[in-house]
């Protein structure tokens, strides 16, 4: 997330509207003046409105680079080629509850801050090995946190009660995987997509390295 202040919001509302919404979510008390908030955000170099709201083009570029680090181009195209960042933004905006959105957006800042602490530059300015090193640490952290909650999550699910929001990096990883492996690139290049198989063979030979069949429905 660099400081390009020309970044345009990609979704329907502008940044001002996004801040108004955030303000509404926080009970209308959070901000004394919108322009001051904008200035503060721009000064911080974080174009994301934080917490809750719409995603900017810079946010999506940032999410693309998160997803690409998780699922890089190898013998098949990576997450960026599958426009995974834009998909993540859509899902967080449309499908995450406000509390989860805040965790996700705060998580974006946390990632960037962690990179700045470690390497004195932003995540976007970091090299692929620096990104991989940082996200590997965050992956271990989320795994530890999420595994410690497994029993409780199971009980809540059985009781029909909503689970605690996930660790932010679990959210990012899950959305990156979902976005990539349900994309056209993921289905048809990383995996094998056959819309109408026409027959069922119950047992065929399999050699390691062969991709899985992509689902249809």
């Amino acid at each position: 997330m660099n400081s390009s202040s020309e970044a345009e919001p990609v979704l329907l509302v502008n940044r001002r509207e996004a801040i108004r919404r955030l303000s509404a979510v926080l009970g209308g008390l959070a901000f004394a003046g919108e322009s001051g908030v904008l200035a503060a955000l721009e000064k911080s170099g974080l174009l994301s409105t934080g917490g809750y709201g719409e995603f900017t083009a810079a946010d999506i570029a940032f999410l693309d680079e998160i997803a690409e680090t998780i699922l890089p181009a190898t013998k098949t195209p990576g997450a960026k080629a599958a426009k995974t960042g834009a998909f993540m933004a859509v899902m967080v905006t449309d499908s995450y509850a406000p509390a989860e959105q805040r965790i996700f957006r705060d998580g974006m800042r946390t990632v960037d801050e962690a990179m700045r602490q470690a390497n004195h530059h932003s995540y976007m300015a970091a090299t692929p090995p620096q990104r991989l090193a940082l996200l590997t640490t965050l992956d271990q952290e989320q795994k530890r946190v999420m595994d410690s909650r497994l029993a409780e999550d199971r009980e809540r699910f059985a009781a029909g009660v909503a689970r605690e929001p996930a660790h932010y990096f679990r959210m990012m990883k899950e959305l990156a995987l979902l976005g990539y492996f349900t994309s056209e690139v993921g289905c048809t290049q990383a995996m094998r997509y056959i819309e109408t198989p026409g027959r069922f063979d119950p047992c065929i030979a399999y050699t390691p390295g062969e991709p899985a069949w992509a689902a249809h429905a």
């Binding site: 680090t69 998780i70 699922l71 890089p72 190898t74 013998k75 098949t76 859509v90 449309d94 499908s95 995450y96 509850a97 991989l132 996200l135 590997t136 992956d139 271990q140 795994k143 699910f157 059985a158 009781a159 029909g160 990883k173 899950e174 995987l177 979902l178 976005g179 990539y180 492996f181 349900t182 994309s183 056209e184 993921g186 289905c187 990383a190 995996m191 997509y193 819309e195 109408t196 198989p197 026409g198 027959r199 069922f200 063979d201 119950p202 047992c203 065929i204 030979a205 399999y206 050699t207 390691p208 390295g209 062969e210 991709p211 899985a212 069949w213 992509a214 689902a215 249809h216 429905a217």
Partner: protein, 558 residues
């Protein structure tokens, strides 16, 4: 009010209503088929059937807006892909005295478009259980009476399955079975050698044709049935019964027709027809007929009875027994076990088979005796895990990605479907304080599972884990995801069949005791729930009742 006359009126166009319309029209009656929802034209209206996963904005998932609009569906089945086949919950609310998940499909074809298609005969272990154990009332029919009608409906519907020779799950008129995959074959073979050979893994018998039928191609192994099939390969009203009924030239189908009551001739104690509210124009029309078939789905058929002839019986048509609206049942499920299968890493499969495996009931049969009554079956499958396994795995980067794109370990998992005993206290009634979009009072549902189900559930969880351990599966884990009545979408009862008008709503031919030209042949008629999926039995009962109705009309008995 306009008035229009037919020989027979069928209320509801789902699995049961489609069969009633077909059978009655083929036997020469002029049939009016009424459906409260929109029309869905075969193939043409399956708008998502050939859409690729990446063509959905949310890739098939759900949004906050969807969850807000679908407060019930979101508890389990809400998704972006076939949302158009589920009821608009804001327009058609209901009242839950206790949590009851009522999943409805208000359109031509009803839930036949989105059903799970598992098709099993019931046996006399099921039809005879109430009498044997002194539970509720006896079914007025036995397997022998229904067997020819199972034959009849299976041939037309196209049920694929193997002839397994099990008395608790009678064989039928099956098309060629879909095969078990290699993981299932392995576990099935080992299970045969355990538990004295009393437990069996068979291929799930399913209403997916493996051979062409009139106007229908065989299954193309897309496993996208719930979007509507462009090949007509699975049984639905649209693919199977509606074209057969239409072919007679005697069928009139009217969508957007909400039947609000059955009209009764008080002196003759016979229905004269039904009153219909047009869902779009909100105009009222009375239709007359010699016989009325209620196939509006279990709870909606009962809603209709509760609202009819209240000037004669304050509790509604069929309420003289005191049992109308009572004895609501479903199956309890969402528990079982799963484990890994070792030794098949060099094996895979091709194509997406639209059925899994079935383990027929073995509890409280053939000398087995448990601390609860009845039993359960399992539905499951073996498969290689997909990319989603990677969400929980540690790792990011190149090797992680390429591994996630390959098929994962073989897994075998199964969930139990348990019988729920009939209980007078599990009931539905009219909630006069709440109205739907059309100003009609809604249904209130008061239903819960009891002690028998609680005890059975322990076995449902432990048995599957034990079977997996015994057949060499690794990392076996049992699960219980919790089950609330309604979730299995096998709601049954509330207008049960019986032998005595004092204790049942319907007789052995599905006639309302109090008005014998009114037939109820959907799930409302069920006297017990067995543990098998019920739809095939609705088909057979409906075809049998239609045959009886036409014979009675010809004898001038109705």
């Amino acid at each position: 009010m306009k008035s229009t006359s037919y020989d027979a009126i069928v209320v509801g166009s789902g699995i049961s209503g489609g069969w009633a319309a077909k059978e009655l029209a083929e036997k020469g009656l002029r049939v009016l088929l009424l459906e409260r929802g929109r029309n869905v034209e075969h193939i043409k209206d399956y708008v998502n059937a050939t859409k690729a996963p990446w063509e959905y904005l949310h890739r098939g998932g759900r949004t906050i807006a969807m969850e807000e609009a679908y407060q019930v569906l979101k508890r389990d089945l809400l998704n972006e892909k076939n949302l158009a086949f589920w009821v608009n919950e804001k327009e058609s609310p209901y009242t839950e005295v206790k949590r009851f998940d009522w999943y409805r499909g208000y359109q031509v074809g009803g839930r036949s478009l989105i059903w799970g298609r598992q098709s099993y005969r019931w046996s006399d272990f099921d039809f005879g259980a109430n009498a044997k154990e002194g539970v509720a009332v006896d079914w007025p029919i036995r397997y022998e009476e229904l067997a020819p009608w199972y034959d009849h409906v299976e041939k037309h519907a196209g049920i694929s399955g193997a002839r397994d020779g099990l008395p608790q799950l009678p064989d039928g008129q099956f098309q060629a079975a879909m095969p078990l995959n290699c993981g299932e074959e392995l576990i099935a073979g080992r299970l045969k050698k355990s538990f004295d050979g009393r437990r069996h893994i068979i291929i799930g018998r399913t209403a997916n044709a493996t051979q062409a039928l009139e106007g229908r191609a065989p299954c193309q192994y897309r496993n996208a049935c719930w979007l509507g099939c462009p090949f007509g390969a699975y049984f639905s009203t649209q693919s199977s019964t509606l074209p057969a009924a239409a072919k007679t030239g005697r069928l009139t189908l009217k969508p957007w027709s909400i039947v609000t009551e059955v009209l009764l001739d008080k002196n003759r104690k016979r229905a004269t027809g039904v009153r219909v509210l047009d869902a779009v124009s909100e105009q009222w029309t009375d239709y007359t007929a010699k016989v009325v078939f209620l196939c509006a789905s279990t709870l909606n058929s009962t809603w209709l009875l509760l609202r009819s002839a209240t000037d004669v019986w304050p509790g509604g048509l069929g309420s003289s027994s005191g049992e109308l609206g009572h004895n609501l049942m479903d199956h309890h499920f969402r528990c079982g076990a799963e484990g890994n299968i070792a030794g098949l890493d060099d094996k895979y499969y091709y194509g997406r088979r639209p059925t899994g495996i079935y383990i027929p009931r073995y509890r409280n049969l053939f000398g087995d005796k448990r601390e609860y009554l009845r039993g359960f079956g399992y539905q499951g499958a073996a498969s290689r895990e997909g990319w989603s396994r990677a969400v929980k795995e540690l790792g990011i980067g190149a090797a992680f990605k390429d591994a996630a794109a390959e098929p994962g370990p073989w897994k075998f998992g199964a969930t139990a479907f348990g019988e729920m005993l009939p209980n007078h206290a599990n009931s539905v009634g009219i909630d006069a304080t709440k109205q739907d979009k059309w100003g009609l009072p809604v249904l209130k549902i008061d239903c819960a599972t009891g002690e028998n189900e609680r005890l059975m559930r322990k076995d449902m969880i432990a048995d599957m884990a034990e079977m997996l351990e015994q057949t060499g599966a690794k990392s076996v884990e049992s699960f219980d995801n919790g089950s609330f009545p309604g979730m299995a979408i096998h709601e049954m009862g509330t207008a049960r069949m019986g032998r005595d008008p004092k204790t049942s709503v319907l007789n052995a031919h599905n006639q309302v005791w109090d008005a014998p030209n009114v037939f109820v042949t959907d799930g409302a008629c069920m006297t017990s729930s067995a543990c098998q999926n019920p739809s095939l039995t609705y088909m057979a009962i409906t075809a049998r009742a239609a045959d009886f109705a036409v014979n009675e009309l010809n004898r001038r008995n109705l």
